[in-house]
Subunit: 672 residues, 3 copies
């Protein structure tokens, strides 16, 4: 339970009442209640309001707001307001301002604008977090702390440069070790002293498009910046904990956001929360994957959907409305995959500045007679039926997909073999195959225990960290099925190549040797000719093409053309009681569908329900009961066959079995 | 009359004789006379030549040039030369150099390179204008002053930042008011002191593509920079007026140039002049619209065509030649829409630097036996027939289209709903429908009196300035027909949303409420199903799609698809004696053609002549006489039917009536 | 002979053993010998290793490496290591760091990172070159000096600005002269003192895409930067010559690299060497042209292929493998066109940093059992058969194509008439026509003697340098055939237009006057209607279209459409005993094929062998013998008909004649 004082699925969102006259506030509260809102996120960007100068703090407006809402039964998710510093602070202490990758000192403006290694920022951010904790830790309205907001961005200033050197010294001890792991003898970059090291920016080693001359430097810089922001988070966390030992603390993450190592962050976060903003062309399976990833950050613990738009965004190129039913459908997708809250940005639309055309529960018209409000209120009403059964339930999975930010950085930084190789895209290809088969998947980090899974998939496991190959080997020896792909096992955690033949430390497990890697324009395909009979006879593949030799592995498929026609493109290797698969190119979706079907069947992994195409199912479990979410993403109604099983339909509050008609964009939540 | 000392249509252009030896000058004069040139624009970029150091001025060459030309009957349009400062000034006074939007201090180079708030620039620019006025105000050759050249560009230096604060203080008085209108409580940007304010640049609030985090700040910055350059202009204006109270003063504008609020500028300009450089794919209706806009800047007063190329440009991607007859045809388009001059850039082609491949009356070959020269000379000869009847005549119109730079800035700065929404494109769509029907249109600013029009169209009137809704209401009450579109009535002049439902202050007038705005990729269309019978049964629309409810208005057309199928897409509302129309999406051209036809018919607005497609007509009037321009833009000859009316054909100097054959690219100018 | 101590075709490459433990070194040497490697390029990026601080030099590792290799029969190509300065130097002497075109001071990082006018860089670069020469000039292993590496890049720092002023003063003497040649009176840029001059950067006169406001300034800046880097090269050259008067000195060039005037550089280089990195879509004729250009830099003297990849690159978007046989085929293309070495980057793949996915003779797997290694070893073996006959042989040609970097800069900088006009593309169009006819061509600079040629082609000879027209006239008078194209004869070496009619100084020779130049989008074509009967009746052309009048020339073809239909598009003019051709637009390939066929036939220029399409031939000659290279670029085998001639097949070591089957990607080297 996130906080037992509100033992419900939270329904709420960001609220910034400072923009309007007090005259509007009572209307807001009235409508929040109409919409079933029970939590408001306050104070996200109010630092300048709260602290008009170095010595003065003024929380009267916040006292008033929290109390006013609480009197109407609305709780507070309390932000610390440190995601944008006050203008006076920037003027007085320019060290607080970031320097960008071009080496340009920023001026006051925008948000996410503070240097994470600025002493001024750290001091005042810690101080205001402490002040807030001191004042509100005992307030009955406050349920959870929301530190800063959507952490991100890198800084390239001199104080970051100095901090980077300290970080490196702690990590490597000697300059000799540093030279070794960064391979500085290439291009004569040997360092003789720590203070010769400069940040990798567009003025030194990097260029547009994740290009770097020294991957090792750039990789460590990403680790360092992720850590620097995490240090800022931790300072505030500890400041709050001085006064509040009870309420959970979070910061809102952003799904597959590239800049921070969220698995490392999650260790410092009590409840994972995240902001879900799919674009009109985001595959629904991608959103599902992201929910599963956010759930995986803390090994399956329920998470918060901290933000979604009730209708449209403002920052996409074409900000289409969420069609009728979509907001509800996607809210239940979050719930079905482990969320225990449904929250919106924003409760009321801003009157000015860049988010005034971002959707809100209360639109500019200011009343409740809008389509958007009605849909929010409908969800609010339904959630009251779901809290008791669903809260704190878990999402079971026998399949895991490995996701690792450091590996991702290394793949993105790689110079060659192909600019079209995108780590997240390749991961999603595999995820999608499971998703379309309605097989539940855990998205896991490299520290996760593998023994609970039947199947583990690690696409593009380019970087094999120290000892990880042993973990996988143990998993397979014990009967597990492991699958990886091209561009795996190539480097260690410093991005240094494992000499002796690809795929390096995975070579024995996989029973292959990859001699060469061909890269062709993504429009060029090869054929995969099947040597086994569990699918079609041939498929296509593209992107990268390993030229490999088996060393014990069996050939599942071979190339159909080019000069490596007849060489293996898919192999599987018996290893202990299990099997290790290798896919040497990026296959078409139909291959992946058949492959995943085959692996699941062999490993006795099955979907809970058989449903028509484009109908998503997911399962949560609690106290011996199973809750099945059935989401119809189609534009027509479909028949769901529950067969002879008897379920309780939680939304309709009636029992059901046999064939049920589910309307377009409709949702079933079944208890069994 | 621009200047009674030369009571003719001026035929001339820019002349920069300093590039060549004196040996060439007599040839120039001889050829100018052959071409019927009567005005030369001198001294545009001669500041460095005129002022070799801080204390020395040397105008001998200019004396000589003005005199030499005048002896041959060629008058002078005298520029003040302040559009590019001397190198020595940049070296000695770096404050004169601009800082760009990236925060980079510029070095000496290019042109339009002076910071408008530089004390040095202002001092020396004013001084040289005064010196010139003192020397030449009585010179009989000098007809008009040409201050600087094509003002434009913004500066982001520290002195501009300080000046911005002063400008804001004058405008808003208190920081509290400023915080209110900029809605700084959003993202915690509250200011406590004026000197906390920084310019909105790529280092603070803005990004590539008119993106800004605070529209209010960015909007005021554009106003401020437009004003800053205007202040520079005014300083020179006043300096000239110390010595010259007679001759008119202008600066050459650039049509729909985005950076300056030309309606505000026009108040300080005696005669509007502008530079017309259509690209090969510029719609001819767009050029027509721009002429009408330039005429509209001073409420219909005749304007100068200060620059056009006789043949080709150098700065377009593909600098095609103007085909035979095109230069003449487009010159008469200018004349037909209110110009009283036809002038060229340049009289002689430069020998070096970036404009040496820009067309000129005298080409590099240096003699008159070229196609281009012959065409110029032909126009020169014809103009002598037209001066008496046309000079100072006016262009009558019963239709107006509203154009407003501040509204345009706000639309461009808007974050959402669609990056494909372009203000000028939408205005031009409506203009084009009138143009193709040969209905004369005035392009007017928001200060223009509306009572003289039957129909007023204000596409995307996003920003409704204080009281403007009342002006429109009064116009409609009195029987006028008003039309506006989606994304209108949304904000006030600070870009703050008018709460209470779109289209805000226009809601009552239009009799509608816009609940939501959908934005889809421009390639996605909806259908407009007509409920009235004055056109086709269905049309298409795209871009934005308002979901609106009528509140008294009649539905003219409704959507044919998507979830808002059946909701109104075009409405009209009776209001007083008039009618207010609303078009909720961006329609195809055929709808606009039919709509405009319908509105004109209802309002008794008709073209002067019926002519075939792609033949343009326009009308000027003077002393009870009407002058009809008929321009054949087609590649074949067409028959023009004058019916029983008898006209004097001014170019052929004969009377005509009935059917006339007009050759390809041919021109008729008829007096009646 | 490059160096008589190794009188063989060198087979080698870059070797950087510092990245690995000593344990690997013996394996390296063993495999080098297996592959027939006889030269290793050492020390390319080892400055930081060699000089750990200002006063210390440490060459022990280099001594050891050179000796170790030499003991196994592998010689050294010794680099001076100055292409990347040490980090300590950048920290201590920031003047060594470049400033980029945006005005941004670089930080330590990357390579090619030293300001060429930095006193620090010059001092230490000279010093280390001298130290190396002192130590190794007598070493029997050292065959050649390799100064720096792939010189390139411009610097825009203050010391470059000062040096530019000195360079200008030396060139022009007075500011008046400078103002004249830069035509500064345009836009009022008149300079009164040298120190008012600033570098043309994105902060002053230039913009993205070779755009400049003052072509004259930008042109001189390119000359100046090319000279500045050349000065650095010369400093090292002279330092080496203090101790070594025997061994040749080179630096590796990069083919058609735009930034340096390689014809000027070649005068200071003893043996031209270059790095050949065709992309997968580089036309094979383009590579051939580049080899011929590199050979032409020193008037036909054999050159070194200093670098090519054995398999793939890392820095292309899609780094495809060289297909089987391709590396060998392309190696022989180099040899056939004048190379006396075949060398690779790199001998062993790097373990880390940005080139670790660049192909190498020894791959990461570390053994010789790879496809790539086998292909290298095959070439190595074959080369032993070829050294004696081929070394120092020459490539005969009766046709020359003029290539000039300064002309190229001027064309690229030109504002107008078309952004699609690319000098190298136009040159290659003509080259390709000769290439496809297997006519040997010399790519020559403007200082080359023309009298040895029958045909000289100078596409887009925009800039005609002082006296060059006389050289061409003399060539034609003596019976030569000269051909040039549109946009020729326009400017002098300062980019000032030659007044009096295009094509300026070539007008009399060509017997034409170009009145106007039309530029249309490249997708727009015109027709060429032939008035002579040596080809088809009509062809197409595009890009630019001169409107020209003959003044004595005969019309070969005329335009088929547009308003200049019927005007000449190809002319030829008898002049003395020869003929001067002019092609007024950019023709299709079939026209150029027929034209070149016609000119060659008229001038008795014939291919050595008749071979099928896509089979390349080239010829080298020595001591009265002729060596014919026959390269089958096709994907199938072809029949080569040697007719009754009897040749020695050097690779198969047997005599042959009559019809021979040449396998796909196969090579014949025939001696006669």
């Amino acid at each position: 339970m996130i906080n037992e004082r509100l033992p419900k699925i939270w329904h709420g969102g960001d609220y910034n009442p400072e923009q309007w006259d007090a005259s509007i506030w009572d209307e807001d509260t009235r409508m929040f209640k109409l919409a079933g809102i029970n939590v408001a996120t306050l104070n996200v960007f109010s630092w300048a309001r709260n602290q008009p100068d170095e010595h003065t703090y003024d929380f009267d407006w916040l006292d008033e707001t929290i109390d006013r809402l609480y009197q109407q039964g609305i709780y507070t998710c309390l932000a610390t307001s440190t995601a944008a510093h006050p203008a006076w602070m920037a003027k007085r202490y320019p060290d607080i301002l970031r320097v960008d990758v071009h080496g340009r000192k920023r001026k006051f403006g925008s948000r996410h604008n503070s240097c994470p290694n600025s002493p001024t920022y750290r001091k005042y951010a810690e101080q205001i977090a402490e002040k807030l904790a001191e004042r509100y830790s005992e307030h009955p309205a406050v349920l959870i702390w929301h530190i800063s907001n959507e952490y991100g961005g890198y800084c390239y200033c001199d104080q970051c440069e100095k901090a980077f050197r300290v970080w490196l010294k702690e990590k490597y001890g000697t300059v000799e070790k540093l030279n070794k792991v960064w391979n500085t003898s290439f291009w004569g970059h040997t360092f003789y002293d720590w203070d010769e090291i400069v940040l990798p920016s567009f003025l030194s080693e990097e260029r547009e498009g994740n290009e770097s001359d020294f991957q090792g430097i750039s990789l460590d810089f990403r680790r360092f910046q992720s850590d620097s922001l995490l240090d800022c988070y931790k300072l505030e966390y500890q400041a709050i904990r001085k006064y509040d030992s009870q309420n959970p603390i979070t910061t809102n993450l952003m799904g597959t956001f590239p800049m921070l190592d969220y698995f490392k962050w999650a260790k410092e976060i009590d409840v994972v929360s995240w902001d879900n903003y799919p674009a009109i062309d985001t595959p629904i399976s991608y959103t599902a994957m992201t929910h599963d990833l956010m759930r995986g950050l803390k090994s399956g613990q329920p998470f918060m959907l901290m933000e979604q738009t009730p209708s449209q965004q403002n920052w996409q190129p074409y900000n289409s409305l969420k069609r009728p039913g979509i907001m509800r459908l996607w809210s239940y997708q979050a719930l079905g995959r482990g969320a225990d809250t449904i929250m919106y940005f924003q409760l009321r639309r801003s009157i000015g500045a860049c988010e005034k055309y971002h959707g809100a529960v209360i639109e500019h018209v200011g009343h409740e007679h809008t389509r958007v409000f009605r849909e929010v209120a409908e969800v609010g009403k339904e959630l009251t039926l779901l809290s008791e059964p669903l809260l704190d339930s878990r999402v079971p999975a026998k399949v895991a997909i490995v996701f690792d930010w450091e590996n991702r950085w290394a793949v993105e930084l790689s110079s060659g073999p192909s600019i079209s190789l995108d780590y997240v895209t390749e991961v999603h290809k595999y995820y999608k195959a499971f998703y379309e088969a309605n097989i539940q998947v855990d998205m896991i980090g490299v520290e996760e225990d593998l023994s609970k899974y039947n199947v583990v998939v690690a696409p593009v496991l380019y970087m094999v960290k120290d000892g990880y190959e042993e973990k996988i080997e143990a998993f397979v020896k014990n009967g597990g099925t492991f699958l990886t792909t091209f561009f795996s096992g190539i480097v260690d955690e410093h991005d240094l190549v494992t000499l002796g033949g690809y795929p390096g430390k995975l070579r024995e497990l996989l029973g292959i040797w990859v001699e060469e890697i061909d890269a062709l324009h993504p429009s060029v395909t090869n054929e995969m000719i099947m040597k086994e009979s569990w699918g079609k006879q041939r498929y296509t593949c593209h992107l990268l093409f390993d030229l490999l030799h088996t060393e014990g592995a069996k050939v599942v498929a071979e190339y159909g053309s080019d000069f490596y026609k007849g060489m293996p493109v898919v192999t599987r290797n018996s290893f202990g009681n299990g099997e290790a698969w290798y896919v040497a190119s990026s296959p078409d979706d139909s291959f992946l569908g058949d492959l995943i079907g085959h692996l699941c069947e062999k490993n006795d992994v099955r979907p809970f329900l058989k449903v028509p195409k484009d109908v998503e199912t997911s399962v949560r479990e609690k106290d011996g009961k199973t809750y099945v979410f059935v989401l119809n993403h189609r534009d027509d109604s479909v028949e769901i066959d529950l067969q002879d099983e008897r379920y309780l339909d939680l939304l309709r509050e009636e029992f059901c079995s046999g064939k049920i008609l589910l309307e377009r964009k409709g949702v079933l939540i079944l208890e069994k």
